[in-house]
């Protein structure tokens, strides 16, 4: 029974944490769930856009000597496809989901730095939209998603496309680095009391490892693309050999980021899998500590692999041997995790629902992608297969198998939490079946095409090359993937309003996000829990069970210690505000302006500085209330 006082408290808590309504709410929202939902929708929209581009590619390649697309348009389309999927979908979607789930999984009422979180979303959105606007005006980049110099230098790509590409990198990577800082701080400082590191869900561990990797990996691509754009716009000479520059510098910088990026895409899904496997095997995960160590080891080893993208360059053989060894070594921590999952599934009672189906699909697909990865990691074979469709097949098996399969599983799993409704199981099974079959029909033939010598990125091929049948088959598979994604969209649309009500914990899962209503209230937890176990909902209640003494009138949160999550201090988070949105607009003007005039960096700095200052400047009334109730350390 709830007393009137409790109901009043809950109403006040909701008012305190809710973002303002109406259009002001649209631009001043800072609640992590609102920002995350927008982020997820934006990244999914980019996924669909990138998928439609892939369909155009497959239509063009379905038959020999096709003239559906010109060579120039084809170059833009495959560049946009790769760029979209890597920079606007795969990495950000993982962060978007983490922004929603991490606070709920660790018993926090918000993320740290909610305004910076909002800013990161806005500049991501503006950067992605800018790239697509350029593409629709036929100014899309056309030098591949990794934009190798000298092709992408001004001499060989004089249009503005590469400049837009380079600035899109700046937008999205700045966003990703900010999100990483938000997530790291949230995870280390805002866990509910009692949630020591050893009781942290594996998904949260995955996000922590990924976020730390982001801080070390992404600066490389920001530096690379900045040097590219200054080469193009103000005649610096980083990549110009005739002026003492070096084109391989680009490849080193790009792949120093690019290989860890694969793991930025791959590690969060490992967390999805651990969550889903535990829930649907109805038991805690086997080998929790081994899993954590494997995640951390993967994070480290991922930085020792970048040169394996460069085996076809004139690097010293000893270096290549080192990178071959590192590439083989990273299979070990992955294997540890796969064996732990198999042990969990083996010893559990399986409940075969759509989320688990996608995870089982992951095992099959990723195994194939991993095996071709081992093949490509050996230098002599790589020299044969480099730049052929074998590599295209490999990377799609790894990325779709490693990321998209678990992502769909995760979406079926957490959709009830996001919306309060279940996705249709029947449609889900159809979607999974079609996706699994169509994926293999689309991408398996590419292995053979690659072995037969079909190069990547060709816009057509002659009929007598003998590649027609397999290409047609692959294109049919691509259509199947499209239908499967369409089924998913229909499922989401229908279930959003009309799906079965989920309740707080439809899967009888063990982690904290399932202890609150679906969708969760603005403050996440009506009372902040105290944690006593790895799967708190599967353990008998222990004392103390919850926290009291946090304000319901202000956005007050609890800060705890890093290792043991002991009580440390209370903190007020800032109010909702449009300033992050305005600062993001100002930053966008600076970034886009600099494509057209280097002086934009100077004059557009002023509105950016003004917006950031006003964003920071505290509000007098709120500050006085805080000062009046302060407890000094």
């Amino acid at each position: 029974m709830k007393t009137k006082a409790v109901i009043d408290d809950l109403a006040e808590l909701e008012t305190t944490w809710a973002d303002p309504p109406g259009w002001m709410g649209v631009i001043s929202a800072v609640n992590h769930k609102t920002i995350s939902c927008r982020f997820m929708v934006a990244t999914f929209a980019f996924f669909v856009a990138g998928g439609l581009l892939a369909l155009l590619i497959r239509l063009q390649l379905a038959l020999p000597s096709a003239t559906f697309l010109s060579a120039e348009k084809y170059n833009q389309i495959f560049t946009m496809h790769g760029t979209t999927m890597m920079f606007l979908f795969a990495v950000p979607v993982m962060q978007a989901i983490a922004i929603y789930l991490v606070p709920l999984m660790i018993g926090a009422r918000s993320v740290a730095f909610p305004r910076m979180n909002a800013f990161a979303f806005w500049i991501f959105l503006f950067g992605g939209v800018m790239l697509y606007v350029a593409f629709f005006f036929d100014r899309g980049p056309d030098t591949g998603w990794f934009a190798y110099v000298p092709l992408s230098s001004f001499k060989y790509s004089p249009g503005k496309g590469v400049d837009f590409w380079a600035q899109m990198i700046t937008f999205t990577e700045v966003s990703a680095m900010m999100e990483a800082i938000v997530l790291i701080t949230t995870i280390l400082k805002m866990r509910a009391p009692g949630m020591s590191l050893a009781r942290m869900p594996l998904f949260v561990w995955g996000v922590l490892v990924t976020s730390v990797m982001v801080l070390f990996a992404l600066p490389a691509v920001v530096l690379a693309s900045t040097a590219l754009i200054t080469d193009r716009l103000v005649d610096t000479r980083f990549y110009a050999p005739e002026h003492g520059g070096d084109v391989l510098l680009w490849q080193h910088l790009f792949w120093f980021f690019g290989h860890p990026e694969v793991y930025l895409i791959f590690i969060p899904p490992l967390g999805f899998i651990s969550s889903i496997v535990a829930t649907f095997a109805r038991r805690p995960i086997v080998g929790y500590r081994a899993m954590v160590i494997a995640l951390i080891a993967t994070g480290f080893l991922a930085f020792g692999l970048w040169v394996h993208h460069m085996f076809a360059t004139d690097l010293p053989p000893l270096g290549k041997i080192f990178f071959t060894a590192a590439s083989l070594m990273i299979a070990l921590p992955t294997a540890v995790q796969i064996f732990c999952w198999i042990a969990t599934l083996w010893s559990g009672r399986l409940w075969l629902r759509t989320p688990l189906l996608f995870i089982l699909g992951f095992f099959a697909i990723l195994l194939l992608g991993g095996l071709t990865g081992l093949m490509l990691a050996s230098v002599p074979l790589d020299l044969q297969l480099h730049d052929t469709y074998f590599v295209v097949a490999h990377l799609h098996y790894v990325l779709l198998g490693g990321a998209v399969f678990p992502l769909f599983g995760a979406f079926y799993y957490w959709f009830p939490k996001f919306t309060g409704r279940m996705l249709s199981e029947t449609l889900g099974r159809w979607q999974f079946g079609l996706f699994f079959i169509a994926f293999n029909v689309a991408f398996f033939p590419m292995h053979i095409l690659g072995l037969q010598g079909m190069p990547r990125r060709v816009y057509t091929y002659p009929a007598d090359a003998g590649w027609t049948g397999l290409n047609l088959l692959s294109s049919i598979g691509a259509l199947g993937i499209a239908v499967s994604v369409l089924l998913f969209i229909i499922n989401v649309m229908r279930s959003w309003r009309g799906g079965a009500l989920a309740g707080a914990d439809p899967w009888s899962a063990g982690t904290l996000e399932w202890s609150v209503a679906s969708p969760p209230p603005s403050a996440n937890f009506n009372v902040v829990p105290v944690v006593h176990a790895l799967d708190p909902l599967w353990e008998p209640p222990a004392s103390p069970s919850h926290v009291t003494g946090l304000s319901t009138r202000y956005r007050e949160i609890l800060i705890t210690s890093i290792v043991d999550a002991d009580l440390d201090h209370r903190l007020w988070l800032p109010a909702s505000t449009p300033w992050p949105f305005i600062a993001a607009i100002a930053t966008t003007i600076l970034f886009i302006g600099s494509i057209f005039s280097p002086w934009a960096v100077v004059w557009a700095m002023l509105p950016v500085a003004a917006a950031c200052t006003l964003w920071f400047w505290p509000e007098r009334g709120m500050t006085e209330q805080r000062a009046a109730t302060e407890v000094a350390p």
Partner: protein, 202 residues
């Protein structure tokens, strides 16, 4: 939902409402920025030596930068560590008067370093478009100048707030973190100085 009893609660009312150092989320946020920016510096320095290793002569077709103003800035920045240390301690002791004085002095040091920086750019002896050497030197100098400029501006804004704005305990944490970040600006200058001014000589 687990049934909850009132006596089953962990009361947090007595906890402080702000804290310094690693206890504060602000410290971790600042550390994250320092890691990112430190990586950018480290990678640019690696690019410098990578280009140098691929070049038969270094610097390519130009004289090394004049030592005078860069060295002056080293001295200036090392000296700025003292008021920053002093201000940080004052903030941790919640001593508003000393914080106000300290922020003013730190701001002046920032402005002085920026003025010296103009002279440094004038005596680099190379343009960014002359060669890859020139490009990477300008990139390093530009990166550091961006840090110098933004952190000096930050310090001034925060200083004005400490003098005139609405104050609460958390602002002392901001002052302490701001001073901590300045150390990063100083240390990164030592690295950039060593590379730009001595990498072209040694």
């Amino acid at each position: 939902m687990i049934p909850r009893q009132p006596d089953d609660a962990l009361d947090v009312k007595h906890l402080p409402t702000f804290a310094f150092g690693t206890r504060s989320p602000m410290w971790w946020g600042t550390l994250g920025m320092i890691v990112v920016e430190g990586m950018v510096f480290a990678l640019t320095i690696m690019a410098y030596f990578y280009l140098r290793s691929r070049s038969p002569v270094w610097p390519q077709d130009s004289l090394p930068p004049d030592l005078l103003w860069g060295t002056v800035n080293v001295i200036l920045m090392l000296a700025s560590g003292v008021p920053n240390w002093w201000t940080k301690r004052a903030a941790e002791q919640l001593d508003l008067l000393r914080v106000r004085i300290g922020m003013a002095i730190c701001g002046l040091f920032g402005v002085a370093s920026l003025l010296v920086r103009i002279a440094e750019f004038n005596t680099l002896n190379v343009r960014w478009d002359a060669s890859a050497y020139g490009s990477v030197v300008w990139m390093l100098m530009g990166l550091h100048t961006t840090h110098l400029l933004t952190d000096t501006y930050d310090s001034i804004v925060l200083g004005v707030l400490m003098w005139a704005g609405p104050l609460e305990g958390k602002r002392f944490v901001d002052v302490a973190e701001n001073a901590g970040y300045w150390y990063f600006v100083v240390v990164s200058w030592l690295a950039v100085y060593a590379v730009v001014f001595w990498g072209a000589r040694v």
